[in-house]
């Protein structure tokens, strides 16, 4: 068979595969692990957005472990899930709280990834834990960004420090932290303007905010969270890398996970940049924030398959 024919056949297979019956692969109890089988898995991995490299690695793993054997789907699935769970495993406590004084959390990300909403959710979560929260609206660039956070602050009854449009965001951050210290607040969350990671000037501005916070409390910011849109593809790796270079991110918040996007790029990010996922956003309301759980995340990655069991 020429490779063209193989190609066409593969194509037909994909059409069937899309959003459907993966169990077909395992009709009649088990399947022989051959090249076609591996190619099918490769495509399943690709569709989660985990990227070519990670997908290839997992397929290679299947190939070395099951090659030329007839296997049950569950055996393969379990092995893959186990591998990913180990990779994505988290420490129990996602936020490192300062022993005394306010814990400073800086939130960064590209435009439209969901920073402001995430901050509202974080604030609410801390409030539920009985903590006092001060918000710093250091996104002085985008039109009405300050208003957006202010509306959230009013809804949640949290204190907020703002600055006029176009003013220096670092000064807003500074004042927010000063306010938090004066009020003996437990947590100070600093919002920043969305920026693409390739905009050097803006990334330097972010570094400056980070530095300014560190001048008031040496360990601050205690956490730097990068908000990542779950629909993001391979560009997420570049985002994680550049933001970590600029402000030493300590973890990810995977926002908008309530759609059909799987957010598999965090697998590649964990591998290549090392950033763990700390929280996931699963809706538009303030309570729609969940602690990241590797187990259920991995299950969700392959839920199309599980649904057919």
């Amino acid at each position: 068979m020429g490779f063209l024919d193989k190609f066409k056949k593969g194509l037909k297979k994909t059409a069937q595969l899309m959003r459907t019956d993966i169990r077909d692969l395992f009709k009649g109890g088990g399947r022989l692990v051959d090249d076609v089988f591996c190619e099918e898995w490769y495509e399943i991995f690709i569709r989660t957005d985990m990227g070519v490299e990670a997908s290839q690695e997992l397929v290679d793993d299947i190939r070395t472990n099951f090659r030329a054997r007839v296997v049950e789907m569950q055996a393969v699935l379990d092995r893959i899930k186990e591998k990913l769970k180990v990779l994505l495993a988290q420490p129990e406590e996602p936020i490192r709280f300062a022993p005394e004084g306010p814990t400073v959390i800086m939130v960064a990300g590209v435009n439209g990834c969901g920073k402001t909403t995430t901050i509202a959710k974080l604030a609410r979560m801390f409030q539920e834990e009985g903590k006092n929260v001060v918000l710093g609206a250091a996104d002085t660039f985008r039109a009405a960004a300050v208003e957006q956070l202010t509306i959230w602050a009013n809804r949640l009854g949290a204190e907020i420090v703002t600055g006029p449009p176009g003013s220096d965001p670092a000064s807003v951050a500074h004042r927010a932290l000063a306010q938090a210290i004066a009020n003996q607040a437990d947590v100070c969350i600093v919002d920043t303007a969305g920026r693409l990671q390739t905009q050097q000037g803006l990334m330097q501005q972010l570094t400056k905010i980070h530095r300014v916070l560190g001048k008031q409390i040496p360990e601050a910011p205690h956490e730097v969270l990068l908000v990542l849109d779950a629909t993001t593809g391979q560009n997420g790796i570049s985002q994680a890398r550049h933001f970590t270079d600029a402000v030493k991110c300590t973890g990810l918040v995977l926002a908008k996970l309530d759609g059909t996007a799987k957010g598999g790029v965090v697998v590649a990010i964990r591998k290549q940049v090392g950033l763990p996922v700390k929280y996931v956003g699963v809706g538009e309301k303030a309570e729609d924030l969940a602690l990241f759980d590797a187990e259920s995340f991995v299950d969700a990655l392959f839920e199309d398959m599980a649904a057919n069991e």
């Binding site: 208003e147 693409l196 391979q234």
Partner: protein, 493 residues
């Protein structure tokens, strides 16, 4: 934007370029790389499959094997298929009639509100009266955001802070538009997930009751494999007329452009290339495909240059250059004009052969923008005499004064003067050249630029006094021939 895809494809095709004959096996290697490159660029799987299938069919056919230069043919096939997949284009917004209504929809955070403003600015520029409608009642402060954008662009914004129902709001906006004499309405709807039935239903209702003439889907260029799902869902709910792709100014590979086109079949109309309100460009698949293959996007650059360069100023400069009078003032003006084109890094991406250099500069952390500002600062600190002929006039004490004035180190002033000296020499040379030679000189310049350690260096020019060995041999031959001739003639006599 497509750099990474471009890089991967060029490397894949480079491996093919060397081979004289294309066989199925070496072709397979190249195509495999193309396949991988597309996936890494976030092109969705179905779109990749369709693309590869078509390319493979053509590439492995007899046509290629019999072609004079098969590798070139393959490059052409890949290029042509990219153009086909992303085209055909239709930039028209079909504005006409009493009031045209454009509706923007998309996922949260894809950039609808900003695009709404940009689109309004563009339409106004084209001589119509747009009005923006804040129909996003979901996100806090979305209305204020649109109002601020409207203020910046001097466009009317229809908003109602107490509105509950976006359908009614849009209907009221249409009435208001008629009263105000606006003839284009742009509806900024709330971002929503395509799986949210209730909100998708609401969108369909706006579509039915308000009857927009055009419905555009706003898509984030960074979207991954999920692009096919959301685009399909929006297309089913609304029958899209076009797509606007945003955030293409970052390093996103933009594979979503291919995916969305593949599933919806509607043309990509515009691309957002920056945060500023004029950063909305028409989408050109041929340029994009050319960029993917590393051919550079010179057409876009020329177009932008035509828009932004001050024509008269250009003509003056050229005249001066032709005469060989090139001063630091001219240099400064040139810097200013380049600055108008946009971020230097972006501009370089457009020029063939400069893509590589741009990457290198990024890797070195070179800050072209900042360097340019510093250069201007140094020039500003000079007297007119110094600017006219810096090489002769600037001495040690002047150098120190200029450096202090510009807030730079004295050696930076020196660097500038040296560079200027070399450049003005080059300009004088180029002034005497024909267009072909000039292009050649430019390319040489680009190549020299690839070496990070070398600044501009003076080219060695032949003095005409020394000859190469072949020349000497030739001369000797001629001399000998003359000698023999003389001898013969002497004998005859």
């Amino acid at each position: 934007m497509f750099e990474a895809l471009q890089e991967n494809l060029s490397s894949a095709l480079r491996t093919l370029r060397g081979t004289a004959v294309l066989t199925e096996s070496n072709m397979r290697e190249g195509l495999r790389t193309v396949h991988r490159a597309l996936l890494e660029a976030d092109v969705s799987l179905p779109a990749v499959k369709a693309f590869m299938d078509r390319v493979t069919q053509q590439a492995v056919g007899e046509r290629v094997l019999k072609a004079i230069d098969p590798s070139k043919q393959l490059v052409y096939i890949v290029y042509q298929e990219l153009v086909n997949l992303m085209g055909p284009v239709d930039h028209s917004m079909h504005l006409g009639g009493e009031v045209s209504i454009l509706m923007l929809c998309g996922l949260q955070g894809s950039g609808k509100t900003t695009t709404c403003g940009k689109l309004g600015g563009l339409i106004k520029q084209r001589g119509r009266q747009p009005m923006l409608v804040a129909a996003d009642l979901q996100r806090p402060a979305a209305i204020q955001q649109l109002q601020i954008l409207g203020e910046q662009l001097e466009l009317p914004v229809y908003a109602d802070l107490n509105a509950q129902d976006p359908v009614r709001l849009c209907q009221a906006a249409v009435r208001q538009a008629k009263a105000l004499g606006a003839n284009v309405l742009i509806l900024d709807t709330a971002g929503r997930l395509h799986v949210d039935r209730e909100l998708m239903e609401q969108l369909t209702q706006i579509d039915n009751r308000v009857g927009p003439d055009q419905v555009y889907l706003v898509v984030d260029a960074m979207t991954g494999q999920d692009a096919v799902h959301s685009a399909q869902a929006f297309n089913e709910a609304l029958e899209l007329d076009g797509v606007i792709m945003t955030k293409l100014d970052g390093d996103a590979r933009g594979g979503a452009a291919l995916s969305v086109k593949h599933v919806t079949g509607v043309p990509i109309k515009f691309i957002g290339t920056g945060e500023h309100l004029d950063a909305l460009e028409e989408f050109h698949p041929d340029r994009m495909a050319g960029r993917i293959l590393g051919m550079g996007d010179i057409v876009t650059l020329v177009e932008q240059a035509q828009q932004k360069f001050d024509q008269e100023e250009m003509a003056k400069q050229q005249a001066r250059m032709l005469k060989g009078q090139f001063t630091l003032d001219d240099f400064k003006k040139m810097l200013g004009q380049v600055g108008k084109l946009g971020p230097l890094q972006k501009v370089m991406g457009y020029i063939p052969g400069f893509g590589q250099m741009q990457k290198m500069m990024d890797a070195m952390g070179a800050d072209a923008e900042g360097d340019m500002k510093r250069l201007v600062g140094v020039i500003d600190s000079m007297t007119p005499d110094e600017r006219a002929d810096p090489t002769k006039v600037v001495d040690l004490s002047r150098r120190r004064r200029i450096a202090a004035g510009a807030g730079v180190q004295p050696h930076e002033v020196n660097d500038l003067v040296k560079q200027f000296d070399l450049m003005s020499g080059m300009m004088r040379q180029m002034a005497g050249m024909g267009i072909r030679q000039r292009m050649k000189a430019m390319q040489q310049l680009a190549q020299d630029g690839m070496n990070p350690n070398a600044a501009l260096s003076k080219k060695k020019i032949g003095t005409g006094k020394r000859l190469t060995s072949t020349d000497r041999a030739k001369m000797k031959k001629i001399r000998d021939r003359e000698l023999r001739k003389k001898k013969r003639e002497a004998k005859k006599r």
